[in-house]
Amino acid sequence: MNNACRTDSACTPTVATAQPAMSYEPAFDLIETESALVLRADVPGVKPEGVDLTIERGELRLLAKPAARHAGARALREEFGVGDYHLSFTLPRDVDAANVTAALSDGVLTVTLPKPAALQPRRIAVTG
């Protein structure tokens, strides 16, 4: 019994879409290739200057702010909310943080996190 819930509304989980100031975890894929980890995150409405990406002590943190839209218009229907995207997780592999690259295209952020050179497969030429 939770005594902090005094009214129905205080106990009902907020539907995220109704809150303009909410933040959202973007849908994302994390792919491992031979040479890198590749993150692809859906962040519709975000421009490159709205992205803040840090990698520190093996943790990736992403904050992406969508550009304002429809200022002053009257909402007729709101099925999804617009707010900041937050994502953070511990990287499952060592990465070469100095050589991480990120690109944003059509609302999809692609972050390429190379594995350290020592962990990358090398093909050894055999001389005869």
Partner: protein
């Protein structure tokens, strides 16, 4: 005045709940009917849909007798050799969404733009539906 018939609201509520559940559990299936937001100013209705990763030629917008239909397909990227998914959550595939709009719309003026993965359809109100300021003259 609400431009959308209220009979659509139960479905809208279901989708809102889907979205809320997705936030907790992660999306598990392709969303066949993506959510929309709709807005209104004096000149037009604006309908927006988040379509990250879609190219403009992968989206089709039609307006026919009071119904706006948005269709599209985001092809799944083909996995290259040696690629392995550690986390997979983004959805791909086809979708279709139709909205009945009860405003008088100027069909020739309907436009659609894609910016940063957000589709915005602008439906200009026909001249008769736009507010007019009437000058009062002294008699």
């Amino acid at each position: 005045m609400n431009a959308f018939p209220t009979v659509l609201n139960p479905a809208s509520l279901v989708r809102q709940m889907d979205r809320a559940l997705d936030q907790f559990f992660g999306a598990t299936s392709p969303r066949a009917t993506p959510p929309v937001n709709a807005w209104e100013d004096e000149q037009a209705l604006l309908v927006e849909m988040e379509l990250p990763g879609f190219k403009i030629d992968q989206v089709e917008v039609t307006w026919e007798r009071g119904t706006l239909t948005i269709r599209g397909a985001r092809p799944e990227p083909s996995a290259a050799e040696g690629e392995r998914y550690l986390h997979r959550e983004r959805t791909f595939g086809r979708f279709s969404r139709s909205l009945t709009i009860a405003h008088d719309i100027d069909p020739a003026g309907v436009t659609a733009t894609m910016t940063d993965g957000v589709l915005t359809v602008r439906l200009p109100k026909s001249a008769v539906a736009q507010p007019r300021r009437i000058t009062v003259s002294a008699n």
